[in-house]
Subunit: 283 residues, 2 copies
């Protein structure tokens, strides 16, 4: 395994296995062909052609969301969508634009809708040596149970921005006080597109760095993290290269941290594939 | 003009106007079609088909370079390549691999060969407020005369690595002592592909950050920079948005600095297009 393999693993999307999903003149999802066949049964809400799918429901976000929700309800009943998460994501033409509709988080990969999240690198620094606070995901998490994770991470739900999501998750997941998380520095956006069992993850991760004071120890409040450990970045990178211990997309967040802080360096032959591979075009 | 427009300006490459240039089984350049027609005259060195071009010369890098040089000599005589720069760039299948041949820097865009450079953000920081040392390019520079530039920037010539190029250019361009430039932190690689008069620029910029002490003032030693000025980043960003004062690719380096240091922030609707647009796939 190389670092670049970790990035490839998160970019397993194969365009030949999917078709665009259109809504109101905008491409809003990538629908795997087997999922498109399922949607073809709901011909009052979706029109499925040979190479594209179209959402027929029109109107305000509330109206369209209700029409899509009825389909999602059927998908849940057929166990094609894992379960309701009771947390909705905005589906908009682009980041920062008003949503066309809202979609239950559990159904996002089925439709291949772009999802946005925040990831926090909580670090300590001693000269050029960095350590990161790493969380271990609870064993009952739906995605990547038991895997290692960033200090804080979470999806951007309907109505929240990136900064508000970070503050909320920082408090719930790691008991980081508002005054401390306010010092987190946004440092970019990473992108990948991955085929998973339910469909396609088309993800944007907004990354933040926070220098954590020596006297602060994160503690989990919502049961999603089993525990935290402060690990030297050099050992983390070794585990990223040689094990599957970290959640698939957390590998990318930490590689980006290592690139931005000069821990990986340009004269390494693998450097450019890593630095560039973390950014998939937003097509 | 928006920030994203600056990025689009550097990505004006249109695949319909070019064809791949192959050497030893590797795609090593993007040849504009009018340039391919010119190369067709040199049928002992290049084979030009309808949709691709192939370097026929084989052997070690010295042998292949000599064959290509003879063609470049003819191109210079025909004023299709501006002039010899007497500085050669390695042409390799990928970053970090041994070169197939070496090419005079002046001929690089004619062949659309990938070129690598280093760019240094020399900054001072006062809390959340950054200032950057900005150079003004000499009026006799071949590319972008009189435009504003990073504190240090330069192409990676044959036989140099990124770190060695940075140290050399830092000394020549800004009289930065070795002990100071050694503190520069590599922070990523930016990519763009742009059609210019002579051909196609397929560029990789390795970016470095250096916190410059208050008592250091850069001075130019090689005549390539007319002068330096310390400018607040907020004003620089305003000029990037509203003027053409900065060299085309320097806009990208500074936008990346602003993204990495949290000066641009995710909840800005333009953020994602900027953060993502600085990284074109290495195809």
């Amino acid at each position: 395994m190389s670092f670049a393999d970790r990035i490839r693993h998160c970019n397993s999307y194969d365009p030949a296995r999917a078709m665009p999903l259109w809504a109101g003149g905008h491409r809003v999802g990538w629908l795997r062909r087997d999922n498109a066949e399922v949607l073809a049964r709901h011909r009052d809400v979706f029109a499925i052609d040979r190479d594209s799918a179209r959402l027929l429901a029109t109107g305000g976000a509330d109206t369209v969301s209700r029409a899509v929700d009825e389909v999602v309800e059927a998908l849940v009943a057929d166990r094609l969508v894992p379960k309701w998460r009771n947390e909705t994501f905005d589906v908009a033409p682009r980041w920062g634009e008003p949503p066309i509709f809202r979609l239950d988080r559990g159904a996002v990969p089925f439709f291949g809708v772009r999802a946005y999240g925040v990831h926090l690198n909580g670090y300590r620094r001693d000269g050029d040596r960095y350590s990161l606070w790493i969380g271990k995901r609870a064993s009952n998490k739906q995605v990547a149970p038991g895997k290692l994770d960033n200090m804080v991470a979470g999806g951007i739900g309907n109505g929240y921005g990136a900064a508000a999501t970070l503050a909320k998750e920082a408090e719930e997941e790691a008991a980081i006080p508002a005054a401390l998380i306010a010092r987190a520095v946004p440092a970019g956006g990473l992108t990948y597109r991955m085929e998973t069992k339910p469909g396609i993850r088309d993800d944007v991760m907004f990354v933040y760095d926070l220098e954590v004071p020596d006297d602060f120890t994160p503690t989990n409040g919502d049961g999603e993290i089993a525990g935290f450990e402060l690990m030297p970045l050099s050992l983390i990178l070794e585990r990223i290269r040689t094990t599957n211990d970290f959640k698939f997309n957390v590998n990318l967040v930490i590689l980006d941290f290592a690139v931005r802080h000069g821990v990986l360096r340009p004269d390494d032959p693998e450097y450019l594939d890593v630095a560039n591979g973390l950014h998939r075009p937003l097509d």
